[in-house]
């Protein structure tokens, strides 16, 4: 539980609390809106890859992690095996476990709240909660962001799938560039150090080098995992 906001001045506190709540609500909405283009592209690319609307919805409702969802569809769309597609999605989703440790340390949820909190522990809700960790509004920040992103993500993926279905293949020429573009936008903010930039390049190079020799889909896992191993070696 977050500590209550400071209460030494009874005349000012309600107003400042209201302002803080409004600020959090607005930021949560802004963050939610920012996932809409990503959801639209994911929905459209998914139906182009012959996923049904129901499958798209299940991914957004249960998997609920944009990078993993898009990776799953991208590997399948490239002709990779379902095993390599699922493997890539799971490895990309592993970071949410790390976020869970941080969020659990902040709030220690129990029972159904823990399940709900775990399911909505993603990049956005974690970042918001951590940024409010000392303000006393961390719990509100987490839930508002989680709700906003969950609702808008699901609505936008459905909309993207419906639009993709309606337009059909001819109009979606060029859609095979949506995956690489989306992944680039997701990758850029994570290139925070020279080591990260180096392993990113190494991973791409290793993946491409193995393309002619291993089953389709495997190069992503091989590049990704060997570059992480490389990083652990560099760290020593």
């Amino acid at each position: 539980m977050p500590s209550p906001p400071p209460t030494d001045d009874h005349m000012i506190v309600p107003a400042s609390r209201k302002a803080a709540h409004r600020g959090i609500r607005n930021r949560a909405l802004t963050i939610g809106m920012s996932v809409v283009p990503f959801g639209l592209s994911f929905g459209a690319v998914s139906v182009e890859t012959h996923l049904s609307l129901l499958q798209v919805c299940l991914l957004s409702l249960v998997l609920f992690s944009g990078a993993s969802q898009f990776a799953l569809v991208s590997v399948i769309s490239g002709g990779g095996s379902y095993l390599s597609a699922v493997g890539t999605a799971l490895l990309l989703g592993a970071r949410n476990g790390l976020y869970g440790v941080r969020i659990n340390a902040l709030f220690h949820p129990r029972g159904w709240r823990r399940l709900l909190m775990a399911e909505t522990t993603i990049d956005e809700s974690t970042a918001m909660a951590v940024s409010e960790a000392t303000s006393g509004y961390a719990l509100r920040a987490f839930w508002m962001t989680a709700l906003s992103v969950y609702v808008l993500w699901n609505l936008s993926t459905i909309a993207g799938a419906l639009v993709g279905n309606a337009l059909g293949s001819p109009a979606t020429a060029g859609l095979d560039a949506a995956g690489p573009a989306a992944f680039t936008a997701l990758l850029a903010p994570r290139l925070t150090s020279r080591a990260m930039r180096f392993v990113a390049l190494a991973s791409g190079a290793i993946a491409l080098a193995t393309v002619p020799f291993v089953p389709v889909g495997a190069p992503i896992l091989i590049g990704g995992l060997s570059a992480v191993a490389l990083l652990l070696v560099i760290d020593r």
């Binding site: 890539t88 949410n96 992503i220």
Partner: protein, 102 residues
């Protein structure tokens, strides 16, 4: 049927990974090496995904309209353009190049 299985396993697996942070002893996940690994995995996997989905076609390397789309995406991401613009411009470029060189 296999596609359904992939969708269900990926969904439940990723949900379980999220929950794992709440139930696995934190000293295990919070060890410096595990943290480093979990932070680097998205970087390397996203990079491999970009490379393969831009330059591979099945088991062949192929330079086609997707590369033009990626080039535009890289430039727009570098100048911090909004996500929608990055994706739309990349797709439009790829579609344009594809129309010129089918």
């Amino acid at each position: 049927m296999k596609l359904w299985l992939a969708v269900v396993i990926a969904s439940l697996g990723c949900a379980a990974l999220k929950l794992s942070g709440y139930v696995v002893p934190s000293r295990f996940v919070e060890s410096p090496m595990a943290r480093r690994l979990l932070e680097a995995l998205p970087v390397t996997l996203l990079s491999a995904l970009i490379a393969v989905s831009s330059f591979a076609s099945g088991s062949h390397l192929l330079l086609d309209s997707r590369a033009a789309g990626l080039a535009v995406a890289l430039i727009l991401v570098a100048v911090r353009a909004p996500f929608l613009l990055v994706v739309v411009a990349a797709c439009a470029t790829a579609a344009g190049v594809h129309a010129l060189h089918p």
